[in-house]
Symmetry: C2
Subunit: 195 residues, 2 copies
DNA sequence: CTAAAAAAGCGTAACAGCTCAACTTTCTAA
DNA sequence: TTAGAAAGTTGAGCTGTTACGCTTTTTTAG
């Protein structure tokens, strides 16, 4: 699975160098005050190469992770305990995920601050996060025995995902998140035929 | 109120010429294939002037209207009949608004198609629309007797506004919109202490 | 009526992010 | 060993957007 030729190692190294340089410079001087040329320079690489590694553009340099998040979301719906509603299962997942990350990655707070204070990055993060909307909606629909394109399921998926970004502005984000998921839970069980 | 000096008339004319040229060209050849220089040319105006009229950039050329939408939203909450919940009042407003626009503006369908098929424009429309989130949230909070920064109210406002953009992808958008507002209504009355 | 303030517009030059085309190096595998 | 894929390089160039300094038109005051 993990092909470990010299080639791929070098490629990964370059990519990492770029992401590291970018994050460091962004944290030092702010996202908007660091040009793409400078990042390439710092990683000792040409601008063209930078964009070969990050075709989504400058913003993508900051988000060098995020695999299997989608699997986690879908799993939270499918394998939830029987006494837990879909919205509550998602709520729990988000909480666990967040605390795990805080424990795992030492510079996670810095990273969060950077994203929160940079509109371009907030937007990008949201877009990436919402990519999972379809997969999540499908899982929910399947679970509820509804057609896979049911607008209610899509809406629930969408709102659940948006909740995290909605809450960022708030002081006491955890309380706000709980409030939002109360709303979603109550709406979901109230407007969906109990199977 | 409407100061009608020669100055302002000319200014408005130029602005209109720009917006018209832009919409025409975009519809003819697609948003991404029309440069800003070309639009300025078509309106017989310099690029600098174009950006003086539309400081928000290329996307703003397409959205030359939208005043008092916010007032309508806030009004729908404040002056709703007593037997209508907040979500239902908003739902009704959105429906009325849409049908009014279709009746009023002959090229509204073209406009919609353009926005729907152009990611940059979809994003921009969403941003503009969500600008009203705060005002709406405040109105809702006031109505419900909750603190003006209550996260539940903010969430309801946000979700209600997002509903319109969520529904765009769907076939039968009206049905989808109804479904979503059912969810919101049921969630709102279920998770909010009845005053 | 006229001078001056205010505002619209102009053209050039520049910078940002990003892409393209053509070429060189490095590694893989037949 | 050699052909070819993939990584990287260079350099030019496109697009949206802004700053700067200048001219012209309109408004307002004296």
């Amino acid at each position: 699975m993990t092909e470990t030729g010299r080639r791929e190692r070098k490629k990964a190294a370059t990519r990492q160098a770029l992401a590291d340089a970018a994050l460091r410079l962004f944290l030092e001087r702010g996202y908007d005050d660091v040009g793409v040329r400078e990042i390439a320079d710092a990683a000792d690489v040409s601008v063209t190469t930078l964009f070969k590694h990050f075709p989504d553009g400058k913003e993508a340099l900051v988000f060098d992770q995020d695999l299997d998040r989608e699997a986690a979301l879908v799993g939270a719906v499918r394998e939830r305990p029987t006494d837990l509603s879909v919205p509550r299962a998602l709520h729990r997942l988000l909480l666990d995920d967040r605390s795990r990350r805080v424990r795992t990655d030492p510079r996670f707070p810095d990273f969060l601050r950077l994203v929160d204070t940079t509109p371009a990055l907030r937007e990008y993060a949201r877009r990436m996060w919402l990519r999972h909307e379809n997969a999540l909606a499908t899982a929910i629909a399947e679970d509820a025995g509804l057609p896979s394109d049911d607008p209610g399921c899509r809406a629930l998926a969408h709102f659940a995902l948006e909740a995290t970004t909605l809450v960022r502005a708030d002081r006491d984000p955890e309380a706000a998140l709980a409030r939002i998921f109360d709303l979603l839970d109550s709406g979901w069980s109230g407007s969906t035929p109990t199977d």
